[in-house]
């Protein structure tokens, strides 16, 4: 019987998922900030 240590793989997966969750949270926070406060700053660059 061959035993394979998958704990390293598991750690990598966990880190990856944490990265995904963080990027989603950043997306939500950044999106809300830009949506509510970004218009005045971005107005000159927006074409009608």
């Amino acid at each position: 019987m061959m035993l394979v240590d998958v704990s390293e793989e598991k750690k990598k997966t966990d880190k990856f998922m944490i990265g995904i969750y963080i990027s989603l949270i950043v997306l939500i926070i950044l999106g809300l900030i830009v949506y509510f406060f970004g218009y005045e700053f971005l107005k000159p660059y927006i074409k009608v």
Binding site: M2, I20, L27, Y35, G38, V48
Partner: protein
Amino acid sequence: MKKLIAKINKEKVFDVIIVLIVIALYVCVALFIYSNFRERKRKEVKTNIINKVDEQINEIKANQAQEDNGSIPKQITVTYSGINYTVLGKIRIKKIGIYEPILKENTKEAYDASAVKISGPNLNEKGNVSIGGHNFMRGNFFIKINKLVKDDIVTITDLSGTSINYYVYDSGVTSIDDVSYLAQPTDKNEMIVTLVTCTKGGKQRYFVKAKAK
């Protein structure tokens, strides 16, 4: 071992899909915000132009009250964000919530900002004046003119402040090449307004004709 490799490969594919989904979400959010900002700016431009038109009308009325017989301009120029818009008047269709300036320029910038006079005489003069507007899916401009039915009111205000109600009497869909709806009426005393927009996909034209009673 083979099972493990297969499992790792599956996980990698799964990871790539998740990353792509996250990137797609970022793009969607950016597009949504850009579209929203663009609409906000368009409303600002529209409000700014309408305010200028109202100022002009009030000035003319004040001059008339003082019996100052200055000539009434047929158009005024409003500059916003570096773009000049030549304004002829405004159009109001209460039923579908349209309240837009009518611009003279037949350019993309003008069509993106508001309704545009395509052809015909000056506003509120005898003849057939046609006004075009985009059919944006965001629910503004002329997207709802297909909801107009007989005797609905289209109000045109020119720069002298004169508002005339036009009553819808005809509408239809025609090909891009057919511009018969722009033709002048045989009765020279008739005052007609023709509203024109694209159908979905822009392959045809939808027009609504209204005339003053």
